[in-house]
Symmetry: C2
């Protein structure tokens, strides 16, 4: 499998693309910018979905579904939102096709032109707030804590599998509240939920904080985000939670009767993560041997491969392998026993290594004699011969250890690639040298942020929530700064 | 809740619409023909999804995701398919908007016209078979057993919530096989799976069989279906499973190397159920008091309502109610304890009755004295005072009984409304009188089928799989017939 596989050092971007393709996670479709998520990739996304969905429900949210289409005029209602979203998007103008006059194929029927064009949702604030208008009359109708799992379309010109595609899958939460305080608490609660998911499930440490005004969601008062560092020193925004203030309530005239019997605009939040997380997961842990997936999100956590010369040996080995499989399943571990006779054990070893199965067990004739089994872990590629009788418990511990080890490794990498920088020269050098997170002072202006971006392609990824107050001078302008922010080049 | 609620007898169609709206299941959106599925409705859909998804996986299927968009030219490849699907559908022609010249709102940017228009998928055979072409080289790549959960769009002119909407949610399975036999077995396996789901989970008895050529899926060699009878005597197609032969493999040139080292076209199936099932579920069991949902698909299976005059009483009752709640949850039953002080018990009673919670428990001061509890079941509206100590086990039995009772009732209704008919007069009279399934002889021609449809609006719903061979004369033409088929007016 790993033959002709580019290493990270040779070309990180190419390594990533090859990995996604060769591990059968996704591929480009016949439609420009749209991907096909293959079963191997979709199985990981499903695991992520089911964990997140449970976390949303445990925090009081319910799911609903809103239309794919948004009337064009809806976008113009919120001034910032239209700037940010209504530009590069798929526009439906007709609702019928007809046979071509020359009899070859079909053409658009110009008699079936829509009165108002429909936009494929790039995000659903507008259609949802237009709907909420009818659902909210009084404080008794609040809060509304609703999430939607859906596909969205943003007409990106340069696309990359999972990281940036014209169509992608995501969840978008849209909540409505009585007070500013409650809406802010919701925004922060979801940020914490996303951070917990990234760290405990994806094994990716994340910075939590605010976006600068330039990087804010179009229509938000504040955008909170979690930000992760990839192995090439570039940042990846892994989730955002927006405090929308009363912007959408005002745009769609959503008022409610307060407990004090007054009419007031509703307070809002929205928040989302997408199949982009798949890109983060793949890039954060994988290596030059292929995919590395944290056990908690791996579809198959353990594979058992028999090594045999004849049917008699295989039958013996299978008996034992199936016992071990059952013992593992009883512990809630997902196991595959691969006894296909169409492929050799060596082929299977590299296959599962490349596809990132966390633990591989191998059973051969000598193991049968000695009552042993070989256990190999994907993260460190270590192999050991161990007693077969206690292997289930051992595998359970190893899976936990891999999960922890991946997080620790990613955290150590992030720490080794986080730099406090106080001079403009050092700022540029570090970016060009190895990248990473740069903690630097910033004067708080959009102009400086823009100039830094133009000169270096680095942006403010996050204004950390847990930063110590520290006075200093802006690394670019020399003007006063009240604290460091985190710069990086980003996906 | 049930005030001003139309009865089934008054107006069945209006009863249904009001039920869907007033039970907060779905509503029409600002986009013509598209619905908003509200949290109460979506929770039922999620349950249906999770059961079906487990059934698909247990039968060896995996999930994947294919693009929302289909290039226009793909539809023309399969001649029948284009006839059936490429007409009424949403067409994307542009990928950018810009500010209007007059500064008011946004307009389509005519410079951003797509070279080839994109169709929003009405079904995904074409894009999927174009993809499978690259996935299938040899018999070793087969079978492919893939399912997709997705939204699709068919530009229906007359829409009804859940039953017929421009956008709907569904699953579509698309499988590829080495042999005709295997593909046929898959088609039948899925038909059995759908029938099992309808009967055991939705409590709706279904007829299993084949569609006549007129009613076949566009591009299929055979369409198998399950067909249910609604309370107004109209049929509802609840799921279809298509044997596609080699039609799509030929249209997209998907060949494989056989075990005999020859190149052959791949055999295909496709199958799907949609949010239309929600319509069937609602219509099959509900009554003039509101929604009735089978316990296995109810989001909340039991609600506990306290009846109290003061806080002291409430505290006492709550202690006991929460104990009962825990005991029920320990049995895997979903329970809500509604101790809101904003609504009176009577209001809550009608609310949960209308929304179809299968079992309601009520606890008042007299129950506390006597160690009793009131149990009310939604299907029969019966109420009983029972000992509180053993209520958890009793509720469990009652839930099972409701599930069975709903099925039995629906089956009895279907039997009472199935008629063997041998004369054209009787055929028309029964249709106009009370509807139902009409078992009648048909001469097997499309012409007769068409004429019957024109004269009566009845169509052949299904050619039953389990029919006894019986020679007869066509009820319309008098020509010879080899067996009875099932006619009905349908949703």
């Amino acid at each position: 499998m790993a033959k002709n596989f580019t290493t990270r050092k040779e070309n990180y971007a190419q390594w990533y693309n090859e990995l996604v393709i060769k591990a059968d996670l996704a591929e480009n479709s016949a439609v420009r910018g749209c991907m096909v998520i293959k079963p191997n990739g979709y199985a990981i996304w499903e695991k992520m979905q089911s964990v997140l969905d449970r976390m949303f429900k445990e925090t009081g949210h319910v799911n609903a579904y809103f239309p794919l289409f948004i009337p064009k005029s809806f976008f113009s209602r919120e001034a910032d939102h239209v700037e940010g979203f209504a530009k590069e998007c798929a526009v439906v103008t007709h609702y019928r096709l007809k046979s071509a006059p020359d009899g070859k194929g079909i053409v658009v029927d110009n008699d079936a032109r829509l009165e108002e064009e429909l936009i494929i949702r790039p995000t659903s604030e507008t259609i949802i707030w237009d709907t909420y208008k009818n659902w909210i009359q009084s404080y008794r109708d609040l809060p509304l804590l609703i999430n939607q799992w859906a596909n969205v379309v943003r007409w990106e010109m340069r696309t990359r599998l999972f990281l940036r595609t014209a169509e992608f899958l995501w969840q978008e939460g849209h909540t409505a509240h009585e007070t500013k305080k409650e809406a802010l608490e919701e925004t922060e609660k979801i940020l914490a939920l996303y951070a917990g998911f990234a760290e405990q499930w994806m094994a990716i440490p994340v910075l939590r904080g605010l976006k600068s005004p330039n990087e804010r969601f179009a229509g938000a008062v504040e955008t909170y985000c979690i930000e992760a560092l990839m192995q090439d020193g570039k940042a990846l925004q892994a989730g955002t939670s927006h405090f929308l203030g009363q912007n959408f309530a005002k745009a769609f005239d959503v008022k409610f009767l307060t407990r004090e019997n007054k009419q007031e605009y509703v307070w809002a939040t929205s928040w989302g993560v997408s199949t982009r997380l798949m890109g983060a997961l793949i890039m954060a842990h994988s290596d030059d041997h292929g995919l590395v997936i944290p056990p908690k999100l791996a579809h198959t956590q353990v594979v058992i491969v028999p090594i045999y010369k004849n049917k008699e040996q295989l039958d013996q080995i299978s008996g034992k392998a199936l016992q071990i499989k059952e013992a593992l399943q009883a512990k809630g571990i997902t196991v595959k026993y691969d006894d296909r006779d169409t492929h050799k054990p060596g082929w299977k070893f590299s296959e599962y290594e490349f596809k990132g199965v966390p633990v591989r067990l191998a059973l051969g004739p000598r193991d049968m004699e000695n009552n042993t089994i070989e256990i190999a872990r994907r993260d460190t590629l270590e192999k050991q011969i161990r007693p077969a009788g206690t292997i289930a418990g051992e595998v359970e511990r190893v899976l936990e250890d891999i999960q922890k080890n991946l997080y620790t490794k990613a955290l150590a990498f992030r720490e080794a690639n986080s730099h406090k920088v106080d001079s403009w020269e050092a700022f540029k050098n570090i970016l060009d040298d190895k990248g990473g997170f740069i903690y630097a002072h910033w004067d708080g202006t959009a102009e400086t942020e823009q100039k830094i971006k133009e000169e270096t392609r680095a942006t403010i990824r996050v204004i950390p929530l847990d930063a110590e107050p520290e006075e200093g001078k802006c690394v670019y302008s020399g003007k006063p700064s009240a604290g460091r922010v985190v710069f990086a080049r980003a996906y």
